[in-house]
């Protein structure tokens, strides 16, 4: 187990270096210069040259890369000239909103998705299974921005039950979290259903049934645990994607999270913020994947002992 953790951590470090290098190159490959964007079209050439020098952009790319890597190793992500503050401060300011949104969406998706998956997978081909399958296809098919706008129209504009946008109270969280959770619910429900159907046809399940256990005991005591292995893996990957990918939901609901910060930073060529945010998101994904791997190992002793 320790070996596995060490191995995963080393892979994680490699991933972080790759992400750091890739983002460094990508932002600089994009057309548009940070100094020009910052000063606007009214600036004269001398002003732009001065600002480029003060941002260190007049140095060779290799030198910039090496000093950037050195700074990252010291956890110094630089100053955002645009925001007039350390880039990581700006990123960390937005993190709580993203965590609130992602966590609520994930918990909602896991609870609802697992329940629906179990209900559908418990009786494959039954009415409930067909209804759940149809619903999950619909949930997965609706574009997030459309779902968000529909929820706003119904619950904020027509029913006046919930605020249409913004942050501050728990009710502000309901619509964005539900919007974000919808496609995730569909993924978990479908995966749980498929996995459960497969598991329920395993020999050990038949043995459990032949021992006289009730369907519930078979399901909860034997089948569910094994059915969860692919679900846990997918949840780990999906949560990581949600952290950085909630930008559409953030825009629709004016939710001040990391996604919209990164989009603003990319549009303004704010290199330090883009780099800091990307590395933080990469770090979160690495940690979540490690946690998912550990959980899977906990669920499946063969992985723990290195048998598979």
């Amino acid at each position: 187990m320790t070996r596995m953790i060490v191995h995963r951590l080393l892979v994680g470090l490699f991933v972080m270096w790759g992400a750091a290098s890739l983002i460094f190159l990508i932002v600089r490959a994009a057309p548009g210069d940070p100094a020009t964007v910052l000063l606007g079209p009214d600036a004269d050439h001398a002003q732009i040259v001065r600002l480029r020098a003060s941002l260190g952009l007049d140095r060779p790319l290799g030198a910039q890369y090496l000093s950037y890597l050195g700074d990252v190793c010291r956890l110094d992500f630089g100053e955002s000239h645009r925001l007039g503050r350390p880039a990581m401060d700006a990123v960390l300011d937005r993190l709580p909103a993203t965590v609130d949104l992602t966590l609520t969406a994930t918990v909602t998706a896991v609870i609802v998705g697992l329940t629906l998956g179990m209900l559908a997978g418990g009786r494959p081909g039954g009415l409930l299974d067909r209804v759940v399958s149809a619903c999950t296809i619909a949930l997965q098919s609706f574009p997030t921005f459309w779902t968000g706008i529909m929820l706003v129209l119904v619950f904020a504009l027509n029913l006046r039950l919930l605020p249409s946008s913004g942050v501050g109270t728990p009710q502000h969280l309901v619509l964005p979290a539900v919007t974000l959770a919808f496609p995730f619910i569909a993924i978990i429900a479908r995966l749980t259903r498929t996995s459960l159907v497969e598991t329920m046809s395993e020999e050990y399940v038949r043995t459990a049934r032949s021992k006289g256990l009730t369907e519930r005991q078979v399901l909860l005591g034997h089948a569910l645990r094994n059915s969860l292995i692919p679900v846990v893996t997918v949840v780990g990957v999906q949560v990581g994607a949600l952290v950085g990918g909630a930008v559409i939901v953030e825009n629709v609901f004016a939710w001040p999270g990391l996604g919209s910060l990164v989009v603003e930073a990319v549009a303004n060529r704010d290199y330090t913020v883009v780099q800091g945010a990307t590395l933080l998101i990469a770090g979160i994904v690495v940690v979540l994947n490690l946690m998912a791997d550990l959980l899977v190992a906990q669920l499946d002793p063969r992985i723990r002992t290195g048998a598979v």
Partner: protein
């Protein structure tokens, strides 16, 4: 059979319990006033949704020229002079201002007895220190004052010296805010709780989320009417308008034409449009061979039916422009309208030897202008002029704009100083190299206009400059832009602002 029924009943009971718990949770979470939790009440609180985020409160820094920072700064800090809602310049900290004979120095007399929100006195030292801070930080506003310096002549007088005659100094100072002496470069502590001398102080600020303002008890003027003003950032227009309809916000502006009809139909909303200093401006790159000839540029202008395009796309917020700057700008003089005549345009292009096989690059930066640009491209196609519309990201657009990597450049160009000097005087000189156009006679007229403080003379000279620009078709100037505002009718005292920076100090809710 009985066991199955019992199991089903048990499941139903569980389902019902879950549903009830869910409903109770939702009910607990709901707003008790039907969504009208912030606006609409007679509570003296005003909530508005700005058009751009407020990312920083530092008016001298990198964000100093951004609309969000300007909107916040005008409520927190004071300026020497400031434009009124209609663009007329009036004193803020300054009671009077006058230039020297050759307009290279402007003397500002300061109001007596002004204090910052912490009770400390504001004097000439603070004004000079603020000017030095602004120019020293090399932010976008510093570019308005290249080589300018400011000195203190007494506790209530400062002088701004320019290296060359500059009659537009007062107008340009509309973006210069006075902070207490000693504020550092990235002084996070100060800008978390800024000390200013404007009508409001900051109660809470979260960048790109919201800014809450409360009246500054030390403010020299009339105490602001609202008890609290909250400026929220709602990036999506649809979400802003929904929030207005639900009463979550009280004021929204920058509303496009296609949304205005629906808002006008709502009884509890007031909708107005105000002429602004912004104008649709389509420069020709006169340095490319195809567009060097003024005859060609004029013919292209003549080939586009701007009147119809404006009527169809901007019936409320657009009207045909009659000069390179709009009517609210000092120096505006109406020119002879360019009549749409595709036949004459085609003939003129042929006579000028225009290369119809060449595709012109028309660059623009914002998706909201796409229909307008496409309509222009379509009209030009009818006379055989092939145009490639290039929608670029803002960063790439600005870089290419400065590098002249375009044939026609579309911009909504504003003149925030309300003075033609910062538009015509700055952009159209040979030295500016902004559109490959160089006319020494125009340079002379613009220099003369910048060197006199006499408004009548300046208007006359900018009129001459406008005529040259217009007749030489340095660009096409199709449309003057109005800004559309909508606000809840329970607000009184709200004045729509021509520059999109409304002041909320005079706004009253029903009972405040």
């Amino acid at each position: 059979m009985t066991r199955t029924r019992e199991r089903r009943r048990s499941r139903l009971v569980r389902l019902a319990t879950t549903a009830t718990a869910g409903a109770a949770l939702l009910a607990a979470c709901t707003t008790t006033t039907g969504g009208d939790d912030t606006g609409g009440a007679d509570d003296g609180e005003v909530t508005v949704a700005g058009t751009y985020p407020i990312e920083s409160l530092d008016p001298h820094g990198a964000q100093g020229a951004s609309t969000g920072t300007q909107l916040a700064a005008q409520e927190i800090f004071s300026r020497l002079v400031k434009p009124d809602a209609d663009g007329t310049l009036k004193g803020d900290l300054a009671t009077s201002w006058k230039p020297n004979k050759d307009v290279t120095a402007w003397t500002f007399t300061l109001r007596d007895g002004v204090t910052f929100s912490d009770g400390s006195a504001l004097d000439a030292d603070d004004v000079v220190a603020s000017f030095q801070r602004m120019t020293g930080l090399n932010g976008p506003n510093a570019g308005n004052f290249p080589g300018d310096t400011m000195t203190r002549t007494s506790a209530t007088e400062v002088v701004l010296h320019s290296p060359a005659p500059d009659a537009s100094v007062p107008g340009k100072l509309g973006t210069f805010y006075v902070l207490p002496t000693g504020v550092g470069k990235d002084d996070t502590a100060f800008f978390n709780h800024p000390v200013g001398s404007g009508p409001f102080t900051v109660a809470a600020f979260t960048p790109s989320e919201s800014l809450a303002l409360v009246p500054n008890s030390k403010y020299r003027g009339t105490r602001p009417a609202p008890r609290r003003v909250t400026i929220r950032d709602i990036p999506e227009l649809a979400a802003r308008l929904t929030a207005l309809r639900t009463g979550e916000v009280d004021v929204v502006w920058g509303i496009p034409d296609d949304q205005l009809a629906a808002l006008k139909g709502q009884k509890d909303l007031t909708v107005r449009t105000v002429p602004s200093s912004a104008e649709f401006t389509m420069w020709f790159n006169s340095s490319v061979s195809a567009l060097k000839d003024a005859e060609v540029r004029r013919a292209i202008w003549q080939a586009v039916d701007f009147g119809t395009i404006i009527r169809e796309l901007y019936p409320e917020t657009g009207r045909p422009a009659d000069a390179p700057v709009t009517g609210v700008v000092l120096g505006h003089v109406a020119q002879q309208p360019v009549t749409y005549d595709p036949k004459a345009a085609k003939a003129a292009l042929t006579a000028a030897g225009f290369d119809f096989t060449r595709k012109l690059r028309l660059q623009f930066a914002n998706a909201e202008f796409r229909p307008f640009v496409q309509a222009v491209v379509s009209d030009l196609q009818k006379v055989g002029v092939r145009v490639d519309p290039l929608e670029k990201e803002q960063a790439a657009f600005t870089e290419d704009l400065l590098a002249l990597k375009w044939d026609i450049n579309f911009q909504q160009l504003a003149t925030p100083s309300y003075d033609a000097a910062s538009n015509l005087g700055r952009l159209y000189t040979c030295a500016a190299e902004r559109m490959g156009y160089c006319n020494r006679r125009l340079d002379g007229v613009l220099a003369a206009a910048g060197a006199t403080a006499d408004k009548k003379r300046r208007t006359d000279l900018y009129g001459q400059a406008s005529r040259i620009i217009w007749q030489d078709a340095v660009g096409m100037y199709p449309m003057s832009v109005s800004i559309a505002y909508a606000w809840n009718s329970h607000l009184t005292g709200f004045v729509p602002d021509a520059s999109g920076l409304p002041d909320f100090a005079t706004v009253r809710t029903g009972g405040s």
